[in-house]
Amino acid sequence: MKPKALVLQAHGSNRDFDVIEALTLAGADATGIPLNALRINKTLLSDFQLLVLPGGFSYADSLGAGKLLALDLASYFVDEISAFVESGKPVIGICNGFQALVKSGILPGDAEGQSTLTFNAQGHFECRWVTLRPVSQKCIWTTGLDELIECPIAHGEGNFQTSPLFPLSSFLDNDQIALTYSYPNGSPANAEYPINPNGSLHDIAGICNSQGNVLGLMPHPENHIHPYQHPQWTRGISRHRGLTLFGNGVKYASELN
């Protein structure tokens, strides 16, 4: 039975339809639900097996990228969201969604201020294609992915940094680094711009929670689900699609109940 995926449409989300198309192609029954509709009927969330916080500029990124959406998650919807996360259902936050998951404390794990996504080291918004190496085997979205993923980034605040509360060593020890920026041949970016496009610590492009069901990442795999989206498809190159990552999430959701 096709798992039902909820794509949360906050005021200012703008890659909602991109990820709905990706999830549909990956076998889910994906629908966009406006945040205000959820505000009126909070129990709606429990009818779904997969939750997506899409890319965009929720609330125009006032007070910092993802900050106000984070407040929604950490206060208004705290019970429903924590129930969803604790039930082990797959959750993915992309770009603005990742910023909201981090600033609400859902990532890396149940407390605010453990890590953050700050201004790009280059000091401006940037849109370019990157190569990602899936790492974590604990994360249900990236486990078993032996191929690299190539897709675009489009952000101004994607520089992932940790705090002493949850240092890099914790990520390494708990296998919570989901994806890292790498060269097209898979070798690590080693903070080399533009391979690591924003100065993120340890080339981190995405992390997961300790349970492994919640993934947050800055790049947009939903914008590489068709061959003709790759920047070098006219050169006969159309490898490393982002669809495999969504395939993992949808498969896991379908096996849940």
């Binding site: 890659r15 339809f17 991109d18 198309e21 500029f57 990124d61 849109c127 675009p152």
Partner: protein, 688 residues
């Protein structure tokens, strides 16, 4: 001899479209945007606007609201915006500040503000900025040009334009304030040293998140059939939007109902304010509740300010008291036609001969590549989100290192079945405008169409938009060159079979210096083209693909070094060349295509080498290397397809001029330039 022309637009632009009578044109010149057929389910709309004077006074705000404004034109034809294009014209970036006319911001400050304004609006509202250009000319120092364009898509047959008696006059979106007051008049008057102080308030304030709410609501309201008419609140604010929508039925509107940003606005200020992010809709009373729910869901405000009466009068009240009571006939038809005198001067006929510059090909080529008008714009394109909506198939930057300039962009709109695509390109050349407006029009039409064909557009289904930016039409020579440019558009449109579907003119782009001198911009015509590719998988890019492939020069290229005419003509075989090239592209015979424009053949070849990080060996008459011509392109063809390609071009002008080499060196006659040197020059513009 003298001639009387009744309306340049009707005489030249609309008449060309009527004569071409293309079946796939759905709406031309009558609505907020031009509309063409896309497939059996969808139609594509396109509009390009200018926000010049606001951007001179407040660069960020002017450009920001330029983008916001053209997006609302697309919403005004019930379409969802899917791509933006921005063409920006600035003064020279290293201008000595002491030479700056009184009260004029330095070109560097104007550029940084404008680019940031375009970035802020396009990125935040989630529309990919995929096409455009940046030009530098000292004529734009006091009067920059900011062209903002937007493409939209909508299901066919859902756009309604007939308000009914009893419908409510409904305002959706932002609140009303004093921002943008007299914006319309300010945009068409000569600027001077005091303009900044006097018209500072005329520059509107943008808020992309509010307009994102408008998109979310209107797309859904359209599909539910909740409104009978829709238009955007642009120049003139409610006075134009409500006035035009009520031009047949008449209406009775109450200004105290309009939601204000702050109290204290006089009635005329409410009626004329050009506050942003507002749309006006005609909504049947029974549909108001459903529209209200939609607006609440997507954080958008809706205000009912009156009704369409059917009495043919525009009645506007303030707290019940009548402030406007006018007969529609007088208001809309009563304006006498302006009579202006135009003098058409013979174009300045001097011809440039290139011989002296060919002494050192390498140095000349590297200088061309570092010319700010040719050099890489990657640093600007990189800060624009050109990937959102996942439809960008041919991207603004292409090649192995994604740093070579695409000729045009191909978009596969999200949500459409099949693999049909939309092509977006443009053509602009102010240098030609200074010399011969008639031939300039032909050249920029050719450039826009040539760029679209170069990525795979079908030359027989391309529509164009005109945007004229001229000086003061009260000066007869200025008006004379405008008439010649319109005549050029008309003749070129018929030659190519490309109808005009919309356009706009911005006049009085002049600055009165303290020295009493009028600084007018070079007569600038932007042609924006929109085309269709049957299958996006057949579209093509300009980066070289493989060593040992042949390089062909297609089009009527001057073989011997005859003096270059001041503004090149368009060869008569051009439409045939484009049709046959299109067949070769869709037939899979071609590996890469790139058009010749500024800097001629040598620059085009260099850009292809940069794209593929491959070399070329060219055998070409040296003195024609930098000739600027129309109708010519370089085409890379693999040897296995060479004979088939040559057969298709049998009775057309073409020439095999060399081949691709794996040694990354561009070799022309006995000059050798490494691709690394080309890349370095291209990525390091030398601003003056």
């Amino acid at each position: 001899e003298t001639e009387t022309i009744d309306s340049l637009i009707r005489t030249y632009l609309k008449s060309a479209t009527d004569k071409i009578n293309a079946p796939w044109v759905i709406s031309a010149f009558v609505d907020n945007a031009g509309i063409i057929d896309f497939d059996d389910e969808f139609e594509i709309s396109f509009k390009v606007e200018t926000h010049n004077h606001p951007s001179a006074v407040e660069p960020f705000g002017g450009a920001n609201t330029g983008v916001g404004g053209v997006i609302r034109d697309i919403l005004g034809v019930s379409a969802k915006p899917i791509a933006n294009t921005d063409i920006l014209c600035f003064g020279n970036q290293n201008l000595d500040p002491n030479q700056l006319p009184e009260g004029v911001l330095h070109p560097r400050r104007i550029q940084s503000g404008v680019i940031a304004g375009v970035q802020d609006y396009g990125n935040k509202i989630g529309i990919p900025t995929v096409n455009g250009a940046i030009l530098y000319n000292e004529g734009y120092t006091a009067n920059p040009l900011v062209f903002c364009g937007c493409i939209g898509i909508a299901p066919k047959g859902k756009h309604r334009k007939t308000p009914q008696i009893g419908d409510r006059v409904t305002v959706l979106g932002g609140r009303t304030g004093r921002d943008g007051l007299r914006g319309a008049t300010f945009s068409s008057m000569t600027m001077d040293a005091q303009t900044g102080e006097v018209s500072g308030a005329s520059v509107q304030i943008g808020d992309p998140i509010t307009e994102k709410g408008l998109i979310d609501v209107i797309v859904r309201a359209r599909d539910l059939g909740l409104y009978n008419d829709i238009t955007d609140c642009g120049a003139g604010g409610l006075s134009s939007a409500v006035g035009e929508m009520a031009s047949k039925l008449g209406c009775d509107a109450e200004l105290t109902r309009v939601r204000l940003k702050y109290p204290g606005l006089a009635p005329w200020e409410i009626w004329l304010s050009e506050a942003q992010e507002r749309m006006v809709l005609a909504v049947a009373p029974e549909n108001i509740p459903a529209l209200q729910t939609l607006c609440d869901t997507f954080d958008t405000e809706i205000t009912d300010i009156g009704t369409f009466t059917g009495d043919g009068r525009l009645t506007v009240r303030y707290d019940g008291n009548i402030v406007i009571d006018m007969d529609n006939e007088f208001l809309h038809e009563g304006m006498p036609q302006r009579h202006l005198k135009a003098v058409i001067k013979k174009p300045i006929a001097y011809s440039r001969v290139f011989e002296d510059r060919i002494s050192n090909i390498k140095e000349t080529l590297l200088n061309f590549l570092s010319n700010p008008n040719i050099a890489s714009k990657a640093s600007v394109v990189r800060i624009y989100d050109h990937e959102v909506q996942g439809g960008t198939v041919i991207k603004p930057l292409t090649g192995i290192e994604a740093d070579a300039p695409s000729d045009a962009t191909v978009i596969k709109p999200i949500g459409t079945k099949g693999t049909k695509g939309v092509v977006l390109s443009n053509g602009i050349n102010p240098e030609y405008g200074k010399r011969d407006a008639y031939k300039m029009a032909w050249s920029v039409m050719d450039e826009a169409i040539r760029n679209a064909v170069a990525v795979g557009a079908n030359p027989q289904q391309i529509a164009v938009l005109d945007n004229f930016c001229w000086g003061d039409p009260l000066r007869s020579e200025t008006l004379g060159s405008l008439v010649e440019a319109c005549r050029g558009c008309h003749d070129a449109a018929l030659f190519y079979g490309t109808p005009f579907i919309s356009g706009k003119d911005s006049l009085n782009n002049e600055y009165l210096g303290v020295d009493g001198l009028r600084h007018a911009i070079p007569p600038t015509l932007l042609i924006s083209a929109i085309g269709i590719v049957q299958d996006v998988n057949q579209s093509i890019t300009m980066d070289l693909k493989g060593a040992d492939n042949f390089i062909y020069l297609v089009g009527d290229f001057p073989a011997e070094p005859k003096p270059v005419p001041d503004v090149p003509d368009v060869p008569s075989s051009t439409t045939q060349v484009y049709r046959v090239l299109h067949q070769a592209i869709t037939g899979g015979l071609v590996k890469s295509v790139h058009d010749l424009s500024e800097g001629g053949l040598a620059v085009a070849a260099a850009e292809m080498c940069i794209g593929g990080r491959l070399g070329m060996e060219l055998d070409i008459e040296e003195s024609t290397l930098f000739s600027e011509v129309n109708g010519c392109l370089l085409v890379e063809v693999s040897p296995v397809n060479a004979s088939a390609f040559e057969n298709q071009f049998a009775n057309l002008p073409f020439n095999r001029i060399g081949k691709v080499t794996s040694t990354s060196i561009l070799k022309i006659a006995n000059d050798e330039i490494s691709v690394d040197e080309l890349v370095h020059a291209f990525n390091n513009p030398k601003h003056t």
